[in-house]
């Protein structure tokens, strides 16, 4: 069995640590490129969301490298993600691509469904070894988040931005290659220390919160490198979704104590969106209010085109913006978004919030 799974930002590092330690053979899809998009778009439904199309592209490229089994997550609605795997399987069948699909999803009837699927994957490995592999993967998830958090903070501050990017990429590679927890921790702390010594600008940067749908936030290819673009424009970005916090909340049921950006997002969202709407709709509104309360200069929402929960969230934005007097910008992304258009809109938005922020200081 040669297992593969679709890309979502740095998630591949975490999953690779988990699966390799479970004794599985992996063939990862190559990093997402324009070719991936073209393959995916050609075979996907026109109005499916962007992640769906990138997934299909990833599968086909992994198949070219020899993968024969796909590991995918699922769900039970109302977000479309829950039905991805079913449609994707049909597409692969119709293309004559022979690939197995193992879909991990919340059980419909009993927990045994999940247990059986995992058993089928890991063979006769003991549960203790599985737990050990999970702990190692968790350690890498924390390391990746620590590195990415640092880079978000430093991008607008350091003078040598390209050197920063280089060390960042290198640190991710080293974390990915690390074989034990000691190495992971050493690489991470080494990176953090070295970065703190880089020469910096004096001025405090503007602060922008990034909210929205998880895939478009975490996958730089899908959001046209939004975080780096903002960093280079001199803006400190705070993400609302972190890989480790997400794993803890959704896969471990909040077992561990992880610092979460927007702890009270459910309560904060209530005056504007008083219902679960699937996906990250309610979190988007809650986090936006959270950022506004902490005096951020602006909030940017990212979502794939036709994403239903984010459309609902975006629909109530005028009320949030009015109440907190905070500028909000939304990007709906798909394969047709143009880089120049995104850059222009970002520059205009940054100019606007810079002016707003100056005005506010004058009043004080």
């Amino acid at each position: 069995m040669k297992l593969t799974y679709p890309h979502m930002g740095s998630l591949y590092i975490v999953i690779r640590a988990l699966l390799t330690n479970l004794g599985l053979e992996l063939i990862l899809p190559p990093p997402t490129t324009r070719r991936t998009v073209e393959l995916g778009v050609r075979h996907s439904p026109e109005f499916a969301c962007f992640p769906f199309k990138l997934n299909v592209g990833n599968y086909l490229e992994a198949k070219e490298l020899g993968a024969d089994t796909i590991l995918m997550a699922g769900g039970v609605g109302p977000c479309r993600f829950g039905y991805y795997a079913q449609v994707q399987r049909q597409i692969l069948d119709d293309l004559g691509v022979e690939m197995q699909m193992v879909v991990l999803e919340p059980p419909d009837v009993s927990f045994n469904e999940v247990k059986d699927k995992i058993r089928c994957l890991i063979g006769d490995l003991s549960w203790w070894q599985a737990v050990k592999a999970a702990r190692f993967a968790w350690c890498k998830a924390r390391a990746v988040d620590a590195v990415e958090e640092k880079i978000l903070r430093l991008r607008p501050r350091v003078k040598e931005q390209h050197k920063l990017e280089r060390s960042f990429r290198q640190a991710l590679q080293e974390i990915d290659a690390a074989l034990d927890r000691g190495t992971v921790q050493r690489v991470t702390s080494g990176f953090l220390k070295r970065m703190d010594m880089m020469p910096r600008h004096k001025a405090e940067p503007l602060r922008v919160g990034l909210v929205g749908e998880i895939f478009t936030i975490l996958e730089p290819f899908a959001n046209y490198d939004m975080e780096r673009r903002l960093g280079f424009l001199g803006v400190e970005v705070t993400r609302s979704i972190w890989l480790s916090a997400w794993i803890n909340e959704h896969l471990l049921g909040g077992l561990l104590r992880v610092r979460h950006e927007c702890l009270n997002d459910q309560r904060l969202a209530a005056p504007y969106l008083n219902s679960f709407v699937g996906g990250h709709g309610k979190e988007t509104v809650g986090c936006t209010v959270g950022f506004a309360q902490r005096n951020y200069d602006g909030v940017i929402q990212l979502a794939p085109l036709t994403c239903m929960p984010e459309i609902v969230a975006n629909s109530v934005f005028p009320a949030v913006s009015r109440d907190y007097r905070i500028p909000l910008l939304t990007f709906y992304l798909d394969e047709l978004s143009g880089e120049a258009g995104i850059q222009t809109r970002l520059e205009a938005f940054i100019d606007l919030i810079a002016a707003c922020s100056r005005n506010r200081k004058d009043v004080l």
Binding site: P45, E46, F47, A48, C49, G74, V76, G77, P78, C79, R80, G82, Y83, Y84, A85, Q86, V87, Q90, I91, D94, D108, Y272, L273, N274, S275, F276, V277, G278, G279, G281, L305, T306, C307, M308, P309, I311, V312, A313, N314, S315, V316, F317, P318, A319, Y332
Partner: protein, 327 residues
Amino acid sequence: MTKIGIPRALFYFYYYPLWRAFFKDLGLEVVLSPPTNKAILDDGVRSTLSEACLPVKVFFGHTAALAEQVDYLFVPRISRVEAKAYICPKFMGLPDMLKARLERLPPLIDTVVDAGRDGDRRSCWEDCLREAGGIFTRDKQLTDRSMEAAMQAQRRFKKRLTAGMLLTDALEDNKVSEAAAASHPQRKLKIGLLGHPYNLYDPYSSMNLIKKLDALGASVVTPESLTDKEIDDEAAKLPKRMFWTLGKRMLASALIFCRSIRLDGLIYLTSFGCGPEALVEELVARWAKQRNDLPLITLTIDEHTGEAGMVTRLEAFTEMIKRRPKA
């Protein structure tokens, strides 16, 4: 008399008999917005996000048209009308979207309809209506009586649908008998028509699709003529449980249409940007392709759709069916 407004959009097409009977029996005056027209659509387009789908825009237009005339607006927060199956995230956030984007709204009756994980089709509406009734009267017996009348009206409506009556006729509680309405003249062509009822039966949104087909010599079969049980049984055969109520109806009807009835073709009407449809329609199209002799056309509508384009495509489709050699 207190006036309660019901927008003629979205789930009006499924549950109007239930709502009307309930509020009428409670002693309220039920005010329905006029049929969709250009002004309503334009209003809706202006007040919604451009990314929202056409039916949601239409709903906003109807709400705005009613806002000044009524004391209350009935906009239930419809989450699940059967166990474990949602409608769509936009339905769940509808009252919030209205409040954030429309000004001068009368108080919204936004009680929750949620069958949860083990409720049923009846109890979820009972909960919603009981709560809504509590706003107008403290008389529990009156509420219960109105509820009974409402359920009866809804049952009657369902019965008329499965008897083969077109939804628009069944909805307007007119005096045509079921048998007379169901025995519309059989045309040469028989076409399966898939699509959400709020698109299919809104003559303005769908640009009179059903009448147009009739004029082209085709009679239609719609998912509404199938009973809930038929839909459920068929949907149970899917490899994965479908978690959208409307998606389930579409998939199951498509399977039934593909298999049992002698149909000449399928027409799938979707609205631009409809989330669930993007995946459901893809599956239906792929299944229809597997059956070599069942042509399918997908018509996507939005606020920019031109009538001439629609007519041309329908004419081409029916011509193509008429001329292909019968197997």
